[in-house]
């Protein structure tokens, strides 16, 4: 009975698919709702959907929600809204008000879960004809997942009519997905569907193909197995891509944390153990800026980081200059003592922040332009990580320019190479020392702004980066900014490629052991300056 009705309405629908549907025709079909037979209700809904008329959507939504009733007296179908004890009646397709009726006068068109599910698929099919391509695309994706065979016809006509290439592809994939749901379909059509799914690729395609079991014809099974291998291979490549991206992202974080250290350690030969705490100060500056903005100028939230960055540079830089003037300058030439004294400073800074801001994590928000992610093939790239990469490279280039193109940079290099001669030539070496240290510290502050976007802002923030950033500098070779660059990205990428193999912690341990061994071979790092001048 149901199959018969179904095919009857199908033919009816197809026959008129190309012409504009008249309202009368829709009403004619909807008369099928006046029944207690669930099968007939579903068939009627499918027939309505098959017309492809956009007005059907309202009626089907109402049916799904139990808001579709028929008047007992004339068997006319209405969409209803409850008004007190009565119902307000509306035309199910046009929404035109049709008066009121008491609850006894109408009867509800009952639906069960099977029908609700079917309607979901049908609604997907209906929106296949929407004007907005994004909605059509969503509809196709919904069908790909729901695999409702009832939507095949609508899908077929939608593919015919579709003008947008990517939407059409999505629709074809949806059709292939639906076809593959049943082993009973034509083997040739199934094999073509497998091909379509294979071209789509990705994890859900893989899952779909995995459902093709022994009940499918032999050649289809073979094609599916082959397709799965192909997809797995490309997924693996995308996996490498994702690891690479994560590695680059970690590398950019390491670069930010290490670059300031490369200046103080590399250029000045000073071990600054408080470097991590300067990073932390940068993060707390960001927090403070956002607090002020939240309370007094919420509309500025999206630019909070742009305000925080220069402030963090200044705060950390000022603390850096204070450390240099107050402690480090008395210890030049005694690197190990500097290490101890700055460690002391790091403890004081940690405790000071803990006392002022409390020991718990502080919430630093992402501005809207740093929230969310986009897909690149099978890779997910979050905007905050992307911006941090851009930021790290920008800071790197700016620093290079400062060192190579500004008077301060020239004086810094002069003092590094020959302090006495630089002093004789009128360079204020003490001032240069303070500025160099301040510059390194300021960059640590900038790193803090970036890290506040991806890590917990707590008094321990700096501690978690200090060992890693030392590793970067030691690995890359002190005194060379490009060494820090190469070191950061090498270690970041190595870490992320080892992680899937060994787990996060073992990967980190492996990298540490590697560096310990590497130092044996190149005691001065990857980009060491060689020659007699350095040895003495």
């Amino acid at each position: 009975m149901r199959a018969l009705l179904c095919s009857f309405f199908m033919i009816l629908a197809l026959a008129s698919a190309s012409t504009a549907e008249t309202l009368d025709r829709l009403r004619e079909i909807s008369a099928g709702f006046v029944t207690k037979d669930y099968g007939q209700v579903q068939a009627t809904a499918e027939a309505l959907a098959a017309t492809g008329d956009a007005r059907v959507a309202t009626a089907l939504s109402a049916l799904r929600g139990g808001d579709l009733r028929f008047r007992k007296s004339d068997k006319q179908v209405f969409r209803v809204e409850k008004v007190g004890r009565d119902y307000a009646l509306f035309d199910p397709f046009t929404g035109e008000a049709m008066g009121q009726a008491g609850s006894r006068e109408t009867s509800k068109i009952k639906v069960n879960n099977a029908i609700r599910n079917a309607i979901d698929g049908l609604l997907g099919g209906l929106t296949l004809r929407a004007d907005d391509p994004a909605i059509r695309l969503d509809a196709a994706e919904a069908l790909f997942k729901s695999r409702d065979p009832g939507a095949l016809a609508a899908l077929g006509s939608a593919i015919e009519a579709e003008t947008d290439g990517s939407v059409r592809d999505a629709m074809r994939e949806a059709r292939a997905s639906i076809l593959l749901a049943s082993a009973q379909n034509e083997p040739q059509a199934l094999i073509e569907a497998v091909e379509t799914i294979r071209a789509r690729g990705g994890q859900d395609a893989l899952g779909l193909l995995a459902q093709i079991g022994a009940d499918y014809p032999e050649p289809v099974q073979e094609a599916a197995a082959q397709a799965r291998r192909g997809i797995e291979q490309s997924l693996m490549l995308w996996g490498y891509g994702q690891s690479l991206w994560q590695g680059i992202s970690l590398g950019s974080v390491l670069l930010l944390a290490a670059i300031g250290l490369a200046i103080t350690f590399g250029v000045m030969g000073v071990i600054n153990m408080a470097h991590g705490e300067l990073v932390m100060l940068g993060a707390y500056t960001t927090f403070a800026v956002q607090e002020v903005i939240r309370t007094s100028a919420p509309h500025l939230f999206d630019v909070s980081l742009l305000i925080a960055a220069p402030l963090a540079f200044l705060v950390a830089g000022a603390v850096g200059v204070a450390i240099e003037r107050g402690i480090v300058r008395y210890l030049y030439g005694r690197a190990l003592e500097t290490l101890l004294a700055t460690w002391g400073v790091s403890l004081i800074l940690q405790q000071a922040v803990r006392t002022i801001f409390g020991p718990n994590n502080r919430e630093v928000g992402n501005p809207s332009w740093m929230s969310g992610a986009f897909e690149l093939g099978e890779m997910t790239i979050t905007y905050n990580r992307l911006w941090i990469l851009v930021f790290a490279l920008t800071v790197f280039v700016l620093l290079l320019l400062i060192l190579k193109r500004t008077p301060l940079g020239l004086q810094m290099r002069a003092v590094t190479q020959n302090r006495a001669m630089a002093a004789d030539m009128g360079v204020r070496t003490a001032w240069v020392d303070a500025m160099t240290f301040g510059l390194g510290a300021g960059i640590a502050g900038l790193a803090g702004v970036a890290l506040s976007q991806i890590d917990n802002v707590s008094p321990n923030l700096g501690q978690s980066y200090i060992v890693d950033s030392f590793m970067v500098v030691v690995f890359g070779g002190a005194g060379n900014l490009f060494g820090a660059l190469a070191g950061a990205f090498t270690l970041g990428i190595a870490n992320k490629f080892l992680e899937p193999l060994a787990g996060a912690m073992l990967a980190k341990i492996a990298v540490l052991v590697f560096i310990i061994l590497f130092i044996q071979k190149r005691p001065r790092g990857l980009f060491a300056i060689r020659g007699r001048a350095v040895e003495n």
């Binding site: 350690f265 030439g333 005694r334 190990l336 101890l340 460690w343 400073v345 060992v467 341990i509 130092i519």
Partner: protein, 362 residues
């Protein structure tokens, strides 16, 4: 020979230690010293031994190890493993062989590296051998390649950091995050009883005295003079025909073995050993003990350890938020104003002054 080992200051130190060795158990027995202080004092003495070990390499050979806590912790774990085996079927799960944490992890048999630790002498041997071996391999690689100065410091830090992360892993088989604890007794002596604790204190005091004597013997020998020569002018020492790496390796391994022993005594007195002992910050603490006491003096290091540990106990009791400020200030002030440490305050003219020289690796 004895006069060479016992210069006046060392002699005073030995006398005080001898008095403590006898006095603490006696006073405790007489009820004049509260019970909780005995293991606390014993713990401080273990720190003192560790500090002397570090002073041997830093004060005399110029090797600033930022990873000495690792050797200490390894020794502590070796003893902890024995103590775990000693628990036997008295654990929460009552397994006669497997420690509780292994039962919890659903392990069926003891991992191979736990075998033998039911024997006390074996555990004691391992408490020296494992740190010694690690120091040998690490030092052999590092010193042969002439990794010196801050580079050496940083990779020693990387070493302890790698171990720190490793011991956190449950799969390592050392109790993960929680470490080893709930010990019951050692060699049949109840660890909670006053007399066992007094005994452990006496052992710690004796080990400290022995450590100071052994280290004195090393530093007053001609080899000790070579070490100081290496510290002050490594390159020159090579040109005299000395194998600098051999001397460094010897003293580094010796120091690690002593640190391991200190750790082995530490675990039963504290009642727990966990990965936090490997934390880089713990190793830097050892450095500040030595710096505050006065490096290159041995007994100064011991003094510094006890002073700082006592201060930590007191200050974290009365004003915990002040402790890190005080510790940080100590680091800064000592390096700036007390390069010879507290012991340097007591006009020690006969000490080899710590040379003012560039420690940028030559």
């Amino acid at each position: 020979m004895l006069s060479r080992l016992l210069d006046p200051r060392t002699a005073i130190f030995m006398a005080i230690m001898a008095a403590l060795t006898i006095g603490v158990p006696v006073l405790n027995g007489a009820g004049l010293l509260p019970d909780y202080l005995v293991p606390l004092l014993g713990k401080w003495l273990c720190y003192a031994i560790l500090a002397v070990a570090l002073d041997l390499v830093w004060g005399y050979a110029g090797i600033l190890s930022l990873g000495h806590g690792a050797f200490f912790a390894l020794g502590g774990y070796a003893m902890g493993m024995h103590l775990m085996r000693e628990i036997g079927p008295r654990g929460v799960y009552g397994d006669p062989i497997l420690p509780d944490f292994m039962v919890f992890l659903n392990w069926k048999e003891l991992p191979w590296f736990w075998l033998g630790f039911d024997s006390f002498p074996f555990a004691l041997l391992m408490a020296m051998l494992v740190p010694g071996l690690l120091a040998f391999v690490f030092g052999w690689l590092a010193f042969r390649s002439r990794v010196t100065g801050v580079y050496l410091s940083i990779i020693t830090q990387a070493m302890t950091y790698a171990l720190y992360l490793s011991f956190f892993r449950n799969e390592m088989g050392f109790g993960g995050n929680n470490g080893l604890t709930d010990f019951k007794d050692v060699l049949g002596f109840d660890l909670q009883s006053g007399s066992t604790r007094a005994g452990l204190f006496v052992l710690s005091a004796v080990l400290l005295m022995l450590t100071v004597l052994v280290c004195r013997a090393v530093v007053t020998s001609k080899a000790g003079k070579v070490l100081v020569a290496v510290r002050d002018a490594e390159s020159r020492t090579r040109f005299l025909g000395y194998r600098v790496e051999g001397y460094k390796l010897f003293v580094f391994v010796l120091s690690a073995v002593i640190a391991g022993l200190a750790g082995a005594l530490y675990t039963p007195q504290v009642g727990i050993i966990n990965p936090s002992e490997f934390a880089p910050a713990e190793s830097i603490m050892v450095v500040i003990w030595v710096a505050i006491g006065g490096r290159g003096t041995l007994i100064g290091a011991a003094l510094g350890a006890v002073l700082v540990a006592a201060m930590e106990s007191w200050l974290t009791g009365v004003a915990p938020e002040l402790w890190l400020f005080a510790l940080g200030a100590m680091f800064v002030l000592v390096t700036l104003f007390l390069p010879k440490g507290v012991l340097g305050l007591f006009g020690a003219g006969n000490l080899p002054a710590f040379a003012k020289r560039s420690e940028v690796p030559a």
